[in-house]
């Protein structure tokens, strides 16, 4: 009996080792442990044993059953693992193959930079004003201290619609429109399209964008102009950016200045981008001329203000290293989708 039991155990072990799939495993289980299995058959012979032998044999038979069961479950586990491994191997994909295309559209580069500028100024408490592109001569020139025959009109070759209407040559007319409708404190930027009769080439376009800024309040000084534009330059080009003001002339600001930022590529040491100067001109501005405040209906003895203007194309060309203005208005997708 003992030999038989041990033989069953050995045979079951060998059979399990040969098993390759779960069906075969089940067959082995039935063969040895099933109701009609070999171990059950042996146990049925237990009755033929003497009363002394019976407990020992009973214990051995249980041990054999437990051992076969444990071998079974180990084998089952091993089989499952190899099945899974085989499945995974079969499902292997080349992950370097590109994914399905779902192209998002691309924002126009001018919009990207405009939104950046808007964010910065909104953070400084500016809201965004708008004005018409077809504008009265009055707002574009007269009210800005540029009377008829003023030499400054020469440098801004104007598209006229009639004697008194034109395509605005600058966003500055929005200054007057804001002053006419809003009481100080005023803190606005006015982005938009402007027009000058320049033939198209890499650096000229009859249509381009400016962003005008206007601040009017009691006690505004040129120090505020400097502080505000330095904050703008630092947020746009990084904390180590410095600004430099050079006196200039605009009819509607006094004092006037052009504003350079330290070159964002070489940080002031001189490189091809800044033509070796270490500075790049990006803004024009100044204190709003008291005459202009007065024209806008604001008492220059009580209030003062500063104004500035930025060329959006110029900022964008610097930002993305674009060397040809024409690309902005051609709308070639090979250009647009780079941003």
């Amino acid at each position: 009996m003992r030999e038989q039991l041990l033989k069953v155990k050995t045979q079951a072990g060998e059979a399990l080792a040969a098993v390759l799939n779960s069906q075969d495993l089940e067959a082995v289980r039935i063969k040895y442990l099933g109701k009609k299995g070999e171990l059950t058959a042996l146990l049925k012979q237990m009755g033929t044993l003497s009363a002394e032998e019976r407990p020992a044999m009973g214990q051995l038979a249980n041990e054999v059953r437990t051992q076969i069961e444990s071998m079974l479950s180990q084998r089952l586990k091993a089989l499952k693992e190899s099945d899974t491994a085989a499945k995974l191997e079969k499902e292997r994909l080349d992950v370097t193959v590109p994914g399905k295309k779902h192209s998002l559209g691309s924002k126009h580069p001018l919009t990207i930079v405009l939104e950046e500028v808007e964010e910065i100024f909104m953070g400084l408490g500016f809201s965004i004003a708008e004005g018409p592109e077809v504008e009265l001569d009055y707002y574009n020139f007269e009210a800005l201290n540029i009377p008829k025959n003023h030499p400054a009109r020469d440098t801004q070759d104007t598209f006229y619609i009639s004697e008194n209407t034109l395509l605005r040559t600058q966003t500055s007319p929005v200054q007057i429109r804001v002053m006419e409708t809003q009481k100080p404190p005023i803190r606005v930027i006015a982005p938009g399209r402007v027009y000058r009769s320049d033939a198209v080439d890499a650096t000229h376009s009859p249509l381009f964008h400016q962003i005008e800024g206007l601040v009017v309040d009691k006690g505004i000084t040129m120090g505020h102009l400097k502080g505000c534009l330095e904050a703008f330059a630092k947020r746009l080009y990084g904390e180590d950016t410095r600004i430099r003001l050079r006196p200039h002339h605009f009819p509607f600001t006094e004092p006037s200045c052009e504003i350079d930022v330290s070159c964002f590529r070489c940080h002031g040491s001189g490189c091809p981008m800044c033509k070796g100067e270490g500075w790049i001109e990006i803004l024009g501005g100044g204190m709003v001329h008291p005459k202009v405040l007065k024209t806008g209906g604001i008492d220059p003895e009580v209030y003062s203000g500063f104004a500035f203007g930025v060329g959006l194309e110029r900022l964008t060309m610097f930002r993305f290293n674009i060397d040809d203005l024409r690309l902005f208005f051609e709308n070639d997708l090979r250009f647009l989708t780079q941003f």
Binding site: F126, P132, A199, G227, L333
Partner: protein
């Protein structure tokens, strides 16, 4: 304005480096554009003395010179004919660089060693205007006005060693278009007081009997005319120092008289002119408007047609100069001129400006006059010119000058509100410090008032004084101050909505474009607009650059089609583009109505009619247009009549959608079908609803039914949907089309349309009966419209 450093030194001698000088000038408002050194490209060229000249043994046309170059003698082979022993000439030694970059290296010429090259004027970058005694096609033989020291650097020896500082002068500062003006600015920049040069005083008279009579006929265009006469003129070259300074200032030396007029203009900023008295008929100067039909041949040899808006200088009969712009060809100074009339006048800026513009000639003179010069400067400038005549021995000066004045000499003053200036700029200077700055540049104080120098026409307001203080104190020294106070920076509703539309279109795969606001009017034909279309009524430019940018667009369609054409022609096989485009509609007011259109379009794989329609539907939902419909239309000439829809919501037309008409597509030369939609921004924002309220998730199950119908081929699905929705009652939660079929088993003029219907109640579980009765009423309603169940 090109400034000679040598010239500036007469009035302001700077000790710092050229770069430091330039930076300081830039930061005080006179922007330095460039520093140009004369003779910069020349290297190793010295004065040589020709010791002797021998014939070249192997070449008839060459000779061999022994030349003393200071540190020894060298042999130079030359083909030049104009030299002789004893001449001093420029010698390019071994390793030299001449003008234009050519290098000179010693070598054998026909078997004889040549250790250098003798130079002509051109090889030094000069012309005979710079050295009138030299010849153009020979060696430059140094005259007595050069330092004849063998071995001396040629640039030093002939004065080709100036620095030209090129300034950008703003239009409000014509006084800075002069050496004096820039010297004054330089003094101010370095905290020094500028002193004006003194000039001899001449007696002024109304006319010089039998010699010169001046009359100003239009005092609105001419404020002053000063005339003087110089007799016994000997026309000849001006001295080297004068030629040198003119050259460094970018002006070509001509002869002593002409050079004097240019010299005075450059030094004092006052344009001058010189006439030969022989050509002033009647010895008369009439400053008058041109008469219609009059012409003049100007110095540049062109005949100019004049008109009565133009001011001329005329003699007793005809114009001899266009006032302030250019002299006449026949009245100028010539080699045999014996008596000269000098003119130092002041003309109205706007008049000179428009005359110069109309005649298409902008001169050094007109560029100054058009910015409004100071009539007070005329007499001083004349005095300076006459001083120069005497200094150069160019003629005999008549000691009385004619002075015709047509302006009021007013002393212009301003209150000196120094505390306001401190507050305006944000600085804290004392009264004295501010006064000091202003006095340095010519302002004079009289109690509480400051007298404005007459040449500073730009100073009119205390803010202008503030600028003078600020720029000489230094913009960089003004402390930066942060803006304080409460200010709410946010987008307006309109701006936020624009961003919502753009961002939605970007996520639907459309790329943003930016197109010109002006178009070619022919585009309206190209998109097939009817002749009487309202869109043809547009704002026109009076002076467009070309036809392509002649009218302000009333529709964004042509711009979009142009962008698509460009992309197609550049072989971009797929395109999805959008623009928020402004359009301009004429009104009865002076200004047109400007509004925005949202236009989106696509071509290429996967961008067919249905795909773009799906995008439009998604866009509308996302931007808060809750209930929109597409209605068949055949009214839009640019769209395919069978593939066009109006987009409607709450009875308003929002825009249109459809495929571009094949003829339009052909005219734009795009080889693919284009589907496109246009929406009116104001209509969208007017009806948008972006408020959202949570509705509870359904608690009760739904019942689904499918409905397959057969109807007339031309019947719109929207019509069937409307019928079903009305008939179904409120239990219908969702109605979706899932199939349209035409073909076998369906009659020729019919189509099969299948819908999926979902019924649900929010208060109870529906049973089959509920659905059945709803379906029954739907079917009956449809039957009345000849829509039957599909067998």
């Amino acid at each position: 304005m090109k400034l000679s450093k040598k010239w500036l030194k007469n009035y302001f001698d700077f000790e710092m480096s050229d770069k430091e000088f330039a930076d300081a000038m830039t930061l005080s408002g006179s922007k330095v554009e460039a520093l140009a050194y004369e003779g910069e490209g020349l290297k190793n060229i010295v004065v040589g003395e020709i010791i002797d000249i021998k014939k070249h043994e192997n070449a008839d046309k060459l000779s061999v010179c022994k030349v003393n170059v200071g540190d020894g003698e060298i042999a130079v082979v030359t083909g030049a004919q104009n030299i002789k022993a004893g001449d001093f000439v420029p010698v390019a030694k071994d390793g030299a660089t001449v003008h234009g970059g050519k290098q000179i290296i010693k070598g054998e010429l026909r078997g004889v060693l040549s250790e250098g090259m003798l130079c002509s004027l051109a090889e030094l970058g000069l012309t005979v205007n710079d050295f009138p005694y030299a010849i153009e096609d020979g060696i430059f033989i140094l005259g007595d006005d050069c330092e004849k020291v063998p071995g001396k650097d040629i640039r030093e020896a002939i004065g080709l060693n100036d620095l030209t500082v090129e300034f950008e002068i703003t239009s409000n500062r014509p006084d800075c278009l002069s050496v004096i003006g820039l010297a004054r600015e330089a003094a101010g920049s370095f905290g020094k007081k500028f002193t004006d040069p003194e000039h001899k005083e001449f007696e002024t008279v109304k006319s010089l009997e039998n010699l010169l009579d001046v009359e100003i006929h239009d005092s609105s265009k001419c404020y002053r005319y000063v005339g003087a006469v110089v007799k016994d003129v000997k026309i000849g070259p001006s001295p080297r120092w004068m030629r040198e300074r003119l050259r460094a200032s970018g002006v070509r030396p001509i002869n002593n008289i002409v050079d004097i007029t240019n010299y005075v203009m450059l030094e004092l900023g006052q344009p001058m002119h010189a006439f030969d008295i022989r050509y002033l008929k009647g010895n008369k100067v009439n400053v008058r408007r041109a008469v219609a039909g009059e012409t003049i041949v100007t110095l540049d040899g062109l005949e100019r047609m004049l008109n009565p808006d133009m001011l001329v200088i005329a003699d007793a009969e005809t114009p001899v100069a266009v006032a302030g712009v250019m002299g006449g060809e026949y009245s100028g100074v010539m080699d045999d001129t014996e008596t000269v009339v000098f003119e130092s006048a002041c003309f109205n800026g706007a008049s000179v400006r428009s005359t110069a513009k109309e005649l298409g000639m902008r001169t050094e003179s007109s560029a100054r006059f058009e910015k409004e010069l100071d009539p007070n400067g005329c007499l001083k400038s004349m005095a300076f010119a006459l001083e120069l005549v005497e200094k150069l021995g160019a003629g005999k000066v008549i000691e009385q000058v004619v002075d015709c004045k047509a302006f009021d000499e007013v002393k212009r003053t301003l209150e000196f509100d120094w505390e306001w200036i401190n507050g305006f700029i944000g600085i804290d200077l004392s009264r004295e410090e501010q006064m000091n700055i202003l006095e340095n540049i010519g302002f004079i104080f009289e109690g509480d008032k400051v007298i404005i120098p007459s040449f500073r026409k730009d100073i009119e307001h205390k803010a202008d004084l503030a600028e003078e203080i600020a720029r000489f104190y230094g913009y960089e020294n003004i402390p930066n101050v942060a803006l304080t106070g409460v200010a709410d920076g946010k987008l307006s509703e309109k701006q936020a909505y624009e961003k919502l539309i753009s961002n939605t279109l970007l996520s639907l795969g459309y790329s943003e474009i930016q197109t010109y606001s002006f178009i070619n009017e022919k585009a309206y034909d190209k998109i097939g607009l009817e002749d009487n279309s309202k869109l043809r009524n547009c704002v026109r430019l009076l002076n467009p650059l070309s036809e392509d940018t002649a009218v302000m667009r009333t529709t964004p369609l042509p711009s979009m089609l142009d962008a698509l054409t460009l992309n197609f022609s550049r072989r971009n096989l797929i395109a999805k583009l959008f623009e928020l485009a402004t359009v301009y509609k004429p009104t009865n007011e002076p200004l047109p109505f400007e509004s925005q259109k949202v236009i989106l379009a696509g071509y290429g794989a996967e961008n067919d009619f249905w795909a773009v329609k799906g995008d439009v539907e998604e866009l509308l939902k996302k931007v808060g247009i809750m209930d929109f419909r597409f209605e068949t239309t055949e009214d839009l000439p640019y769209l395919h009549p069978g593939r066009a829809a109006k987009i409607m919501a709450y009875g308003n037309t929002l825009g249109f959608f459809g495929e571009i008409h094949p003829s339009v597509q052909e005219r734009y030369d795009i080889g693919m079908r284009i589907t496109l939609a246009q929406l009116d921004f104001n209509s969208l924002i007017g009806i948008k609803n972006l408020k959202r309220n949570y509705s509870p998730l359904p608690k009760f199950p739904a019942i689904e039914r499918d409905l397959a119908l057969v109807c007339d081929k031309k019947l719109a699905v929207q019509t069937i949907k409307d019928l079903i929705t009305t008939a179904a009652g409120e239990l219908l939660e969702k109605l979706e089309l899932f199939d349209i079929y035409e073909g076998a088993q369906i009659a020729q003029d019919k189509k099969s349309v299948a819908f999926n219907l979902v019924f649900r109640s929010h208060i109870r579980t529906l049973n089959d009966k509920d659905a059945d009765s709803a379906m029954q009423s739907i079917i009956e309603t449809l039957k009345t419209k000849d829509i039957s169940l599909r067998d």
